[in-house]
Symmetry: C2
């Protein structure tokens, strides 16, 4: 059966940590929902990933630092972060949950 | 550089045909934006695809027939349509553009 799930289900109004949920975990890509509540990456922390990641901001607002370039994101904004491009989240919305869709490309499924 | 593009850019208020735009065409998956203007699949037409497709309805509303099962979609609804699952679009919103995100999994890049 093909019953849909909803991206906005189970989003608390507030949370002390970001929420990460796999929507699909396929041998060829992993589709993840991330919900942020004003969090940003820790000082001097950088994501440095082994696979390309395509990110779409669905709700809220955010800013990224991608190898020194500041990228502001509003709903509908999407970008590709290539494997090895160091990046960090410098800002997420303080007034509402920020909902991201992240497509991790060519990431092997966890065994 | 990592300048974002926006999913809602270049969406006319009305169009006589559905719009299909590749947002990313990767050897491991193709990410496509589809905009519908009340269109549905032709009578007796069925999509029958060789790769899995993950669909997210972003804006508007729609209904699918997936192998005889009716699936209504509102914003945020997502579902996986497996390769070989015959499906057709039976309805899209008459009052506003319907915006879909379709992730075609494991589809080879066009050469």
């Amino acid at each position: 059966m093909n019953n849909p799930a909803n991206l906005f289900a189970d989003i608390p109004e507030q949370a002390s940590q970001e929420l990460f949920s796999n929507l699909l975990d396929n041998p060829h890509c992993r589709i993840e929902r991330i919900v942020s509540y004003g969090q940003s990456s820790p000082h001097r922390f950088w994501y440095d990933q082994g696979s390309d990641e395509w990110v779409l901001l669905i709700q809220g607002s955010a800013a990224l630092d991608v190898e020194g370039q500041m990228v502001k994101l509003v709903p509908g904004d999407h970008l590709l972060i290539k494997a090895g491009q160091k990046h960090r989240v410098t800002h997420t919305d303080q007034n509402q949950p920020t909902v991201w869709l992240a497509i991790h490309l060519n990431e092997p499924a966890k065994s």
